[in-house]
Amino acid sequence: MKLGKSLIIAKYLIKNYLINPFLKSFRKKHALIAGILVAIVILAAIVIFAIFAPPEPEGGNSSSSASIRKSMIALGLNKYVIIDVVSSALTLIMVFEVIRGRITISVMEEAEYEVLLAQPLDMETYFLGRFVKDTVWMFTFTAWYVSLIPIATDLSKGRSKAVLLPVSIFLMTSYLSALDTLISELKIIWREKKDYLRLTALLYIIISAAHSLLARRISPLISAPFIFLARSIVYCATISESILDVLLSLGGGTFVLILILLAEMKLADRISPEYVKPASILMKEKKFKKRERRKIYSLGSSESVFNYLFRWEIVNRRHIITLALILLATGLPAYILRRFLVAKLGISIETLQFLSLFLIPLLASEALSFLINSSMAKDLAAFWIYRVYARDLKPIARSLMLKYAFYLSEAFLVISVYDAITASPSMILMPLIILPLTILMAFLLLAVVTYLASRRRIIRQAPVGLYMLEELAASLVMVIVISIYMVSDILMKFLLPTIPDIELAVICLVSLVLALILHKILTESLSDLMFSYDVLS
């Protein structure tokens, strides 16, 4: 390994992915510099304010933090439960990553493979450079969590340790991405025996689930991998833990992170560059393999667009099986928890219901990032084809709207199944009732995504991922969509159980009709939007 070269790689990758895209969009450099300075000043002000804010009198009930705390405790959520839930959720995400089929080290631009890896570098050097780049990348993102400091300060009654919150979040993102790379490496190295790897992961889940059942609490087996991280975040906002506790868990997390990194470097030279691929190419390859034998040109052009963008993706066995599995994976534990455990564990049923609020961001962000990435890589990467060949853009708009609405509804169906089991059976109707909202969300997302896609050059040979500004825009819409869904989920939980069946049926019908009308109208507007973006670019 050559440290110097790793740093060179990191330097130019950061330029390419982080700095230059900004420089490019701000033609006037001093405007950019001024903007950055203002941002730094604001962030610094927040930190200073948090440190020197007068601590609140103990037991003062006037602040908002006290009421947040109270309502959380009413739900049976004390800090230990939160730590356990957060850390085991993170573990589960990673285990899911092991089980998932994708075998690759993903990169944003193909040049990283075609150009960079054709240089005389060992893979260890490359991986280290990549890690440094990722770290800087995540640092610029997590810097914004400084704005959470006041909330943490408030919750912890003015403890200055709250200032460490962004550090904890930064550690968590680094840890997640390093672990993700390590898992990819293991999957590549053991690709011949991938079924064993999956089986091991599954066994791990089953054993820790069994242990949780026996011990009547979330097993340390499942929370241990992320316990330091969860603690370092939660302790920033608690009253009784000192700054030393936060630092200790940060130290623990950092130590494990270093171990992960060492393992990653150790394995790097067993990875062939072949597996370093942009996610977009992989998506294409997969589609290509499956569809070679299909007739692309069926009847009219609008039908083939529909087939290409919508039907093949939704109505295929793999997709349906995946959905069924996810439904089962949420429904079954929910049922078991509710049926047998609520009483024994002494947690309230409300806690269980409350958990669906964690599920929403998890599932929705998974669905959304998949949609956005696949649109950029596949559906809209070929924007120019539509420009040239499509008579009008309406069939494309319609198919895309349908596809987005479908994926979002599926994500929501999983949540409604969970809610139906833990809260009230009528919750199962939720995806239908909020369908008009879903169509609206689909429209919002597509408007942003097509805008981003149209800003790109018409013919690009190298498919790439999202750049920083695009990423920011995309995550902004994601946040909006997710919050809207969370709010509607809470509302539904209150409202639905009180509505009589007949009225419920009427509401569903109205929603359906409304959704259809909205779909029609918004499809028109979307194709208009697409057209005008197109003319602009």
Binding site: I8, Y12, K15, V115, A118, R457
Partner: protein, 245 residues
């Protein structure tokens, strides 16, 4: 005295899922040779070249550059190589200048060497005014020229190029060929894949034709002609041999 370098490809096999891209391909390129690799679409040219630069791992067989295996001595082997990929793929948000500096520093060239090479190649490829332009704002041919500059800049003993002239204007093609010839005269071994038969006919010193992953003919232009009748052009030869195989 400088070490002379060759390219050796020994019974390479590679499959992608069900597709057998290479089925025992063997050939070699000596120092001072320009070897043209021809073949229909999907014959396995790109796969071969990617194996030679370590981007793809062969299932069986060996590929050596200057006697070093590209799989087990990857770093050493690649330190002799300049490579131009098939598609004009380059870091979208680096400027030409930054990109060339990037490659230069990875190859441990001194700052002066990089500056000198940069001004030389950007001059001959007429990219001088564009040196601070972002790659995403360049045309296909321009990117191809940038990639060529990067490959030439490192003073390779082995040049591996996948359809390098696709998209270049005639003048650039001329400059490009001159430059390659200059390097060949110093003993560089050149492997070039192409569909431009006229160019290959005049430019390459030896030609290999592959189809479905195996070599179906190899030799100088005259050798190949003999197999298809005296008056045949390379195009006739190519069509005949591919047909027969």
């Amino acid at each position: 005295m400088e070490e002379k370098c060759s390219i050796e490809v020994l019974s390479l096999h590679k499959r992608y899922g069900d597709t057998k891209a290479l089925r025992g391909l063997t050939f070699s390129v000596e120092p001072g040779e320009i070897y043209g690799l021809l073949g229909p679409n999907g014959a396995g040219k790109t796969t071969t070249l990617k194996i030679l630069v370590g981007l793809v791992r062969p299932d069986r067989g060996t590929a050596r550059i200057c006697g070093r295996s590209v799989t087990s001595q990857r770093v050493e082997a690649l330190s002799f190589v300049g490579y131009i990929p098939e598609n004009p793929i380059c870091f979208q948000n680096l400027t030409i200048r930054e990109f060339l500096e990037f490659i230069g520093s990875l190859r441990e060239l001194s700052r002066e060497d990089v500056e000198e090479a940069m001004s030389y190649y950007l001059e001959i490829f007429e990219l001088k005014e564009k040196r601070n332009e972002y790659v995403s704002n360049l045309s296909r041919g321009m990117i191809q020229k940038v990639l060529a500059s990067a490959a030439f800049m490192v003073r390779p003993k082995v040049l591996i190029m996948d359809e390098p002239m696709a998209g270049m204007d005639p003048e650039a093609q001329h400059v490009f060929k001159e430059e390659v010839r200059r390097m060949v005269s110093r003993g560089t071994a050149v492997l070039i894949s192409s569909h431009l038969l006229d160019m290959v006919e005049k430019f390459c010193t030896r030609i290999g034709i592959i189809n479905r992953g195996v070599l179906i003919a190899e030799g100088g232009l005259d050798d190949l002609r003999r197999r298809a009748g005296e008056e045949a052009s390379l195009e006739d030869v190519f069509l005949k041999l591919v047909e027969e195989s």
